[in-house]
Amino acid sequence: MDAVFKALADASRRDLLDRLRAENGQTLNELCLRLAMTRQAVSKHLAILEDANLVATVRRGREKLHYLNPVPLHEIGERWIGRFERSSLQALRDLKKALEAE
C-alpha cells in the first residue's frame, strides 16, 4: 500500500492516470503527446505507477499498451470505507455535484 500512496503523491503521475481514465490502452508515444515532460520522465513515472499496480500493461506486437488499474484504489476504499457509509457518501457526493453545478 506504501507504493500506491507514493505513486499518487505526484501531480504528473496523477495526470497520467487521468489521461488513461479518459482513454485507456495508450502507448508511451500517445501519452507523451501534448505533455510538457520528456519521454524519459514519462517512462519513469509509468514504471512507478506500474510497480504500484496502478497501471497494467499489455504487449501487442511491438507496442506496449497502458491501462488504468483501479484495483489497488478499490482495496484502499475497502479498508477505510465501511459498508453502511457507502450510500451516505454517495448522497453527499451527489449533493456537492448538484450545488456546484448551480
Binding site: 497494467a56 499498451l65 484495483v71 478499490h74 457507502r86
Partner: protein, 160 residues
C-alpha cells in the same frame, strides 16, 4: 485482435492452482462473486453460466481452459435491463506465479461499439477481484453495494 477495453491486475498470496479452482468452482464463486455461482464442464465450446438466487445473470461459452494458467470465455449479460440483447464480449484470465504470489490479469474486450454492459462491468471487476483476494488470503468475502439496493427493493415490496 482489437485493443482490450479493460485490463485489471491483482496480486494474491496463493497458488495458481487455488486461484484457478476458485474462478471455476460453483461454490467458491457463489461466495466471493457476491452470490453469482458459475457452472460449466469447462470443455472448450461448452456453455458457462452464472446464476444468482436461481436467476440467470450471465451466459457464455468456454474459449480456453488451460489450468492453472489461462481461462477464457465469452460473456453476455442476461439480467435486467440487458437480457441478452448485447453481443457476447470476451473475458480472459491469465495466472502467473511470481514468487509466493499469483499475478492475476483479467482482460475484458470485444464489446459492442455502443455497449451499455461495459459501464457496469468497469465498476464490478475491481470489487470481484478484491473479494477473490480476501476469500483466498483470509477466507472472508467482501460486501457488494447492490445488496443494499436489493434489500431495499424487497422491503418496499413487502410493505406495499
Amino acid at each position: 485482435m482489437s485493443k482490450p477495453v479493460f485490463v485489471y491486475v491483482i496480486y494474491i498470496a496463493s497458488t495458481p492452482e487455488k486461484v484457478f479452482k476458485a474462478l471455476t468452482d460453483t461454490d467458491a464463486t457463489a461466495k466471493f462473486w457476491f452470490g453469482n455461482a458459475v457452472t460449466s464442464d469447462w470443455k472448450v465450446g461448452s456453455p458457462v453460466t452464472f446464476h444468482r438466487d436461481g436467476k440467470l445473470i450471465v451466459s457464455g461459452k468456454v474459449l480456453e481452459h488451460d489450468p492453472p494458467r489461462r481461462l477464457s470465455y465469452t460473456f453476455q449479460s442476461q439480467h435486467e435491463p440487458y437480457n441478452g440483447t448485447e453481443k457476447h464480449s470476451r473475458v480472459v484470465m491469465d495466472l502467473e506465479q511470481q514468487r509466493d504470489q499469483v499475478k492475476l490479469t483479467v482482460t475484458h474486450d470485444d464489446f459492442a461499439p455502443d455497449s451499455k454492459v461495459f459501464a457496469g462491468i468497469s465498476n464490478g471487476w475491481p470489487l470481484v477481484l478484491s473479494s477473490l483476494k480476501s476469500y483466498l488470503e483470509a477466507n472472508r468475502v467482501l460486501y457488494a453495494p447492490w445488496y443494499d439496493e436489493q434489500a431495499k427493493r424487497e422491503a418496499e415490496k413487502a410493505t406495499s
